[in-house]
Symmetry: C2
Subunit: 343 residues, 2 copies
C-alpha cells in the first residue's frame, strides 16, 4: 500500500510507493527495457496484465480477449490505488503549513493505469498510423471521463515514456495515466498563473500565446485545421514542443472524435520530424488538462507537451526547479520545420 507524505517545509506531496520497487527493472543499474521476448503487452499475453479497464476491439471482432486495438489495464506496480483505505473528500489539508510533529501519512488513493497502444510490439509513436493513434487518444478520453466521476480524485495526468532516458521500463508502446487526490504543484502553478493573467487582461494567456506564435511564425513547427505545434518561447528542454488546439478548451476529455483525429495526425507528423532531427531520441508526451472539479475554465487551456530527453537532469535542476536549455527554441523549430512531411 502506498502512502502520501507532505513535505513539512514546502507543503509538496510525495508518493511513497514501495510496490514500484518490485518492478524487474526499477533501478537504473538494470536499464535495458523489457523487449519483445517476455513482453506482457503483446497480443496473446492478456492474462499477464491486471484487470482490463477499457478496450477498443477490432470491428466485427468476437467478444474474445484477443482482437483488440487498444487496451487499458491497471498498472501491475501501482503508485496509487483506488481501493486504498477510504479517504473522505477534502481530507487532504489544503492549508500547506501542516503540523510537522504529527507527520501523518495518508493512504495513496488514486489510479495508476496503463494504456497499451497496439497489439503488436511497436516501439515509437511514429511506428503507428494516425488512425491507431486516434484510438489511443480516444482511450485516454474515455478513462478521464470515467475517473472524473470519483469525487476523491482531483486531477489526472496522461503521459508516455519512450526510451530508458525518458523513464520507460517496457519498450512496447504504452502510455500511463495517474489520477491523484490533489492537483500536482506544477499544474497548480500553471492554473494560478493563467488565472492571474486572466484577471488582469481579460483573456487567456494560452490564447494570447497561440495568437502571438502564429503571428511570429519563427517557433511554429507544423499545423493543421485543428491544432498548432510550436517550440515554446521559454522551452524547458531542447526541441520541446507544445501541440495546442486552435479552439479554446480547458479539458482534454471534452474533445470530440474528429478533433482527436486531427491531433493524431499532427502528433504523428511532429514526432516524425523529431525522429529525423534527433535520430529517434527518448521522449515523453504529457497531456496538460484542467482539474476534474473545475470544468470549462476561461483562463486555462489543455495542450500536449512533447519533451525529448536528450540532456540529463543534474543537481542544479533537481534542487532549484530552474532549468538550463542548451538549444534556442527558434533554432529547434527551424530544424523541425525543415524536415519533409511524410506522405
Amino acid at each position: 500500500m502506498s502512502e502520501l507524505r507532505q513535505d513539512p517545509i514546502s507543503g509538496r506531496w510525495v508518493v511513497i510507493a514501495e510496490e514500484r520497487a518490485k518492478r524487474p527493472r526499477a533501478f537504473v543499474a538494470d536499464n535495458s527495457p523489457v523487449s519483445l521476448e517476455g513482453c506482457p503487452f503483446c497480443e496473446g499475453h492478456e492474462d499477464e496484465t491486471p484487470r482490463e479497464l477499457f478496450v477498443i476491439r477490432e470491428e466485427n471482432a468476437e467478444q474474445s480477449e484477443h482482437q483488440w486495438r487498444v487496451r487499458v489495464v491497471r498498472n501491475k506496480y501501482p503508485a496509487l490505488e483506488l481501493d486504498a483505505a477510504p479517504l473522505a473528500t477534502g481530507l487532504l489539508p489544503t492549508d500547506r503549513a501542516v503540523d510537522v510533529a504529527a507527520r501523518d501519512t495518508l493512504p495513496g488513493v488514486g489510479s495508476h493505469e496503463v494504456i497499451i497502444e497496439s497489439p503488436e510490439h511497436v516501439l515509437r509513436t511514429t511506428d503507428m498510423s494516425p488512425d491507431q493513434l486516434t484510438d489511443v487518444l480516444v482511450a485516454y478520453r474515455e478513462r478521464l471521463r470515467a475517473l472524473r466521476e470519483d469525487p476523491r480524485l482531483k486531477h489526472a495526468l496522461v503521459f508516455k515514456n519512450v526510451g530508458t532516458a525518458a523513464g520507460a521500463t517496457l519498450e512496447h508502446a504504452h502510455s500511463q495515466l495517474i489520477a491523484l487526490p490533489f492537483v500536482p504543484p506544477l499544474i497548480e502553478e500553471e492554473l494560478q498563473g493563467a488565472e492571474r493573467y486572466y484577471e488582469r487582461h481579460g483573456e487567456s494567456v494560452f490564447d494570447v500565446i497561440l495568437r502571438d506564435e502564429l503571428a511570429a511564425g519563427e517557433r511554429i513547427v507544423a499545423e493543421n485545421d485543428g491544432f498548432v505545434a510550436f517550440c515554446p518561447f521559454a522551452s524547458r528542454a531542447p526541441y520541446e514542443m507544445w501541440i495546442m488546439p486552435r479552439v479554446h478548451a480547458s479539458h482534454y476529455e471534452e474533445t470530440e472524435e474528429p478533433q482527436l483525429g486531427e491531433l493524431a495526425r499532427l502528433l504523428h507528423d511532429v514526432m516524425h520530424r523529431l525522429d529525423v532531427v534527433l535520430h529517434q531520441p527518448a521522449y515523453n508526451h504529457v497531456i496538460h488538462s484542467g482539474p476534474f472539479d473545475r470544468q470549462n475554465m476561461h483562463h486555462y487551456h489543455w495542450y500536449v507537451e512533447v519533451v525529448p530527453r536528450v540532456t540529463k537532469i543534474a543537481g542544479f535542476e533537481w534542487a532549484t526547479g530552474c532549468v538550463i536549455n542548451v538549444v534556442q527554441p527558434e533554432k529547434a523549430a527551424e530544424q523541425l520545420r525543415a524536415v519533409m512531411k511524410q506522405a
Copy 2:
C-alpha cells in the same frame, strides 16, 4: 551569450545557454564521461581550464601553477556569465505576470564555476580523505563570500554531479557553483514555507524537524558533534539524505573551519554507507543556503542534500513536480545505519 526567458504562464525563468551544447558530451547519446585520458582537471593540465578564481595550494608550495589541492575555475561552457551586458539591480520583474507579447529576453548574468576537488584523478567523494573534503568545503565558502558582494546576484547553488545518471560529463571529482540574478523557484518555495511556519509557530521548521528526527531516531543515518544526517520524512528520492548543522544558521558561507571539518567527516561517512548499500550509485550533492541579500534568517536553515540517482525522472515527474519514491525513508535509513563505519 546565454539568455534568461520567463515562462509567460508560470512566471518561471529558463536559462537558454547555447554555449553548453558545445560540450563534447552534451547530449545523452554520448554518455560516457571524459575519463583519465584527456582529463583537463588533472594536475599538469592547468592551461586547459579557463581562468582560476580561487586556489588552495600545498603548504610551503612555490607560487607555481602546480602543487595545488583545490582549484576553482570558470566553467568552460558557462550557463551564465558575469561579463554579460550590464543588468541594473532589480531589473528582473518581480511581478510574475509579465507582458507576454513583449517576450523580452534578458542577458544571462551570473557565474558558473567549477570546483576541482583534487589534483589527482579521483572519482567519488569517498575517494578523498575528510581533510581533502574540508578543503573543498572551504573553497565553496570562499567563492560564496566573494560572489555575494555583487549586487546583481541573488542566490548561488553549489552542487556536485557524480556519474552519468546524475548529469556528470567529466568523471574527475568536481563540484559546480551557479550564481543567479534571482532566487530559483524551489529555493523560494522553501523560504516561503519556512517563513509561513515561523509566523505561526515562532520557531524554525528546520529546527523542529531536527529535534523531531533526533527524538524519533528511525530516520537517522549518522551524526557527529556538529552535524546530523537523516533520510527526510518526505524524501523525494530513494536513499535521499539531508545533513544539517546542529546549530541554527541560514547561510552556509558563515560556517567556520572547524565546523566544515565536522561536515567533511560526516559527509565522508554517509557517502561510504551509500556506496556500500547501493553499490556506488550515481548521485548529486546540493547545498541549500539562504539568498545573498537576506542574511541571518531565523526561519531558514542551510543543509546539504544528498540525492542518489537510482530511478529516472519520467514524464509524470517532469510535468507535475510531484515525485514517486519507491523506498520508504525509514527502511533506507535502517540499511544505511547498519553499514559498519569506516575506520
